[in-house]
Amino acid sequence: MALLELRNVSKIYHTGGEEIRALDDVSLELNNGEFISIIGPSGSGKSTLMHILGCLDLPTKGEVWLDGINISKASQRELARVRNRTIGFVFQSFNLLPKLSVLQNVELPMVYAGIGGSQRRERATAALNLVELGHRLKNRPNQLSGGQQQRVAIARALVNDPKIILADEPTGNLDTHTGEVILNLFRQLSIQGRTVILVTHNPEIAAVTPRRVEIRNGKVAERVDERLAGLHRQAAAAGMAAGLGVPG
C-alpha cells in the first residue's frame, strides 16, 4: 500500500466569479523511501499540489490517503497533528524563528508534539549532530550561513522522525555548491527510507531524483529515470545509511 496517495484530487478556486482549476483530477502514489521531484513553472498548480501533499490544505474533490487513513475530511486540528508527526517541512527561505537559538528551533516541532524538555534537548542535539551542526547549538539563525541555516531547517524537519520530507525549493536561496550538499543530504535521507519530495521549478535540480512529476495546468505527467532509480535501489539495498556524509 502506498504511503501517500491522491485519488482524483481537484482543487478549485473561485476568484471573481471565475473558476480556476489549480489541480484537475490528479492521482498520484508515493511509496516509502522514494526520492521524487515535483516540477512545473509558476502558476502550474505546483504549490497547490505541494500544499495538499503537505496537509496544509484540503482538496475540493477527491481523496487523500496518508498511511492508510483518509485525511480529505480532517479537521484543522487533525491536520496540524499529521503535519507535526508525519511530515517534515523544509522551505526555500529556511523559515527559522529568529529569536530562538538553533537548538530551540529544532526543538519546536517536539514542543508541539508535547515531548518533555530533556528528551527534546537530546533528540534535537542528535538531529543537529546528524547535519553536523552540533557545535552551533546556542547560536541564533542569523549568525549562520545560508547552507547552515538550511541544515538546521532539515534537522528541524527530521526531529519528529516523519515519514515524509517535503522540501519547497530548498536550494533556491543557496549557491550551487551548497545546494549540492543539501540535495545530497536529501538523497541520503531517502536512501534511509524516508520519502523525500522536492518541489522545484528548476529541471537541473529535478534531474537528481529518480522519479519526476511534472505539473502543467493542473494536470500531472510522470517520468521515471530508470538509471537513477536503479542506483537508488542499489544504494538503499546496500544500506548506505551508515552516515549521511556531509562535507564539512
Partner: protein, 454 residues
C-alpha cells in the same frame, strides 16, 4: 505545549523589542501605580476617620437621646420626665446587658478663667468616673474624682491639655510642660482645684506635624517670626482631637450643687441630665441590650417614650459610605487608565503578529494548532501586562512616597496588599482581554497564506 516554554518565548519576544514593549507597558504601569496610590490615599483617609471615631468614644458607644413624645402620647407630653439620674440607677440595676452607664450634666455657657487668661471649653460637664471609659479618656497626671468628691460636691476638676495650654501656656510656647495639678482656676466665676489632667490626644496628623517641627531647627530668638498662627477650633486640624483636649470634667454632684440648683429662673432646679451614654457588654448583642434598656426606661418614664437610642452604627455606616464612594470614583479613574493601557497592548500585539505572520505560518506547518498559537499570543499579552503591573507596583511605591512628601501632615497613605493584588489581577485581566482579538486573528491565519506572506 508547556506553559513555561510559552512564557519564555513570550519574554523573548518582549525582550526583542525592548523599547516598544516598555512604551506599551507604560500605560499599565501608570494605571497600576495610580490604582495602588489612590487606594493607599483612601486607606490613609479611612484610618484618619476611624481614629476620629475612636476619639469620640468608639463604635460601641450608644447615646440615649431625648426626643419629643410620639403623637399618640401627645396628651402626656407635660408628664414626660426627661432623662434623670433615676434612669441611670435603674439601668445599672435592671439592664445587665449594659456594661457602662455614664450620666453627664452639662454646665452651659461657662467660661474658664485664670487671672487675665480665659478660655471656652468644648464641654464642661459633671460626670461620674464611668465617663473615662465611656469617652475613652486617660488621666495622665494627678487623679480623677472619687466617691468623696462626688458625695461632698467638692470643687475639683480634671482638665484636658487644651485647657492647660489656654490658661497656663502650651509647651510649644514656653518650652516646658506645665502640669497644673493643685492649681486654682475659675469655672463660671467659682474657684475650682485642678486634681488631674488628661493625656494629650492627637491624631496621626498632629503626631506627624510635631515630628516635623522637632526636625526643623528653632528660629533664633529675636528674629522676625511673622504673626502667630490663629488658635482655636481649627487648630491642628482634627477637630475631634482638639475638642477632646478642651474638656473639663467635674463631679456630677458638684455640677448639680454649684451650677444647677441656683441656676434656674423660676426657682425650681432642673433635675434632668444633659446626657446618658451607655456601652453594651457585647456589640453583637446590641439589639437585645437596647431592648432591655428600653424596657427599664419605659418603667422609669411611666411608659412615655420621650427617649431614643442613637448608636454609632450610623457613624460607621457613613464612614463606610464615604470610603466606598472614594474607592469607587478612584477605582473607576484608575480602571480607565488601565483600560487605555490595555488598548496599547492590543495595538502592539496586532502589530507584533503582523510582523510575525511568516513565523506563525511556519509554526503551523510544523504542527502548531490554532489553540497553541492562540495561547502563545494570549500569554505574550498577559506577560506584557503583568510585567507592566510589577513595574507599576514599584512605581506606586515611589508615588506613595511623593504623595506623603507633598502633604506631610495629611493622613499617611497606606499601601495594602489587597490593592496591589487587585491591581495586578486587573491588569492580567486587561492583558487577556487585549490579547483576545490579536490571538484569535493569529490562530485563524491560514498556514498557506501565512507562509506566502512577504
Amino acid at each position: 505545549m508547556n506553559l513555561i516554554n510559552t512564557i519564555v518565548i513570550g519574554l523573548k519576544e518582549i525582550w526583542a523589542h525592548k523599547f516598544r514593549s516598555l512604551l506599551t507597558m507604560f500605560g499599565i504601569v501608570l494605571g497600576v501605580a495610580s490604582l495602588v496610590g489612590m487606594s493607599a490615599l483612601i486607606k490613609g483617609m479611612e484610618n484618619g476617620m476611624r481614629e476620629s471615631m475612636v476619639a469620640m468614644g468608639g463604635a460601641d458607644k450608644v447615646l440615649l437621646e431625648a426626643q419629643a413624645v410620639p403623637a399618640y402620647q401627645d396628651h402626656l407630653a407635660d408628664q414626660a420626665p426627661g432623662r434623670t439620674i433615676r434612669d441611670v440607677f435603674a439601668l445599672r440595676e435592671g439592664a445587665p446587658l449594659l456594661r457602662v452607664v455614664s450620666p453627664e450634666m452639662t454646665v452651659p455657657e461657662v467660661i474658664l478663667t485664670r487671672g487675665e487668661k480665659a478660655c471656652d471649653p468644648s464641654e464642661c460637664v459633671g460626670a461620674w468616673p464611668e465617663v473615662l471609659e465611656m469617652n475613652l479618656h486617660t488621666v495622665e497626671h494627678g487623679r480623677f474624682f472619687n466617691a468623696i468628691d462626688e458625695e461632698r460636691a467638692h470643687a475639683v476638676c480634671v482638665v484636658g491639655t487644651g485647657i492647660r495650654d489656654a490658661l497656663f501656656g502650651s509647651p510649644d510656647e514656653i518650652g516646658r510642660e506645665i502640669i497644673p495639678i493643685g492649681e486654682k482656676i475659675q469655672i463660671g466665676g467659682q474657684p475650682f482645684t485642678i486634681v488631674g489632667m488628661f493625656q494629650h490626644y492627637m491624631g496621626e496628623q498632629e503626631a506627624k506635624e510635631r515630628a516635623l517641627a522637632r526636625r526643623t531647627p528653632k528660629a533664633e530668638p529675636g528674629s522676625f517670626q511673622g504673626p502667630k498662627r490663629q488658635k482655636g477650633w481649627g487648630k491642628r486640624g482634627g477637630w475631634a482631637f482638639s475638642r477632646k483636649n478642651m474638656t473639663v470634667y467635674m463631679p456630677l454632684n458638684t455640677a448639680w450643687v454649684r451650677f444647677r440648683i441656683a441656676g434656674d429662673l423660676d426657682g425650681i432646679p432642673d433635675p434632668r441630665l444633659s446626657d446618658i451614654d451607655i456601652k453594651v457588654r457585647d456589640l453583637s448583642n446590641l439589639e437585645a441590650a437596647l431592648q432591655q434598656a428600653r424596657n427599664v426606661l419605659l418603667v422609669t418614664h411611666n411608659g412615655i417614650e420621650d427617649f431614643n437610642f442613637r448608636t454609632q452604627e450610623n457613624q460607621v455606616e457613613s464612614i463606610n459610605k464615604q470610603i466606598e464612594n472614594a474607592r469607587m470614583s478612584g477605582g473607576i479613574i484608575a480602571g480607565i487608565s488601565l483600560l487605555v493601557g490595555g488598548i496599547g497592548i492590543m495595538n502592539i500585539m496586532l502589530a507584533s503578529i503582523n510582523e510575525r505572520i511568516r513565523e506563525i505560518g511556519t509554526c503551523k506547518a510544523l504542527g502548531a494548532t490554532g489553540t497553541e498559537i492562540f495561547i502563545q499570543i494570549i500569554v505574550e499579552s498577559v506577560v506584557l501586562s503583568i510585567l507592566g503591573a510589577l513595574l507599576g507596583l514599584l512605581a506606586s511605591g515611589g508615588l506613595v512616597e511623593v504623595l506623603g512628601l507633598i502633604s506631610p501632615t495629611g493622613n499617611t497613605p497606606v499601601v495594602t496588599w489587597q490593592s496591589q493584588a487587585i491591581a495586578v489581577a486587573f491588569s492580567a485581566g486587561v492583558g487577556i482581554v487585549a490579547g483576545l482579538f490579536p490571538a484569535v486573528k493569529a490562530a485563524r491565519l491560514s498556514p498557506i497564506q501565512a507562509l506566502r506572506y512577504e
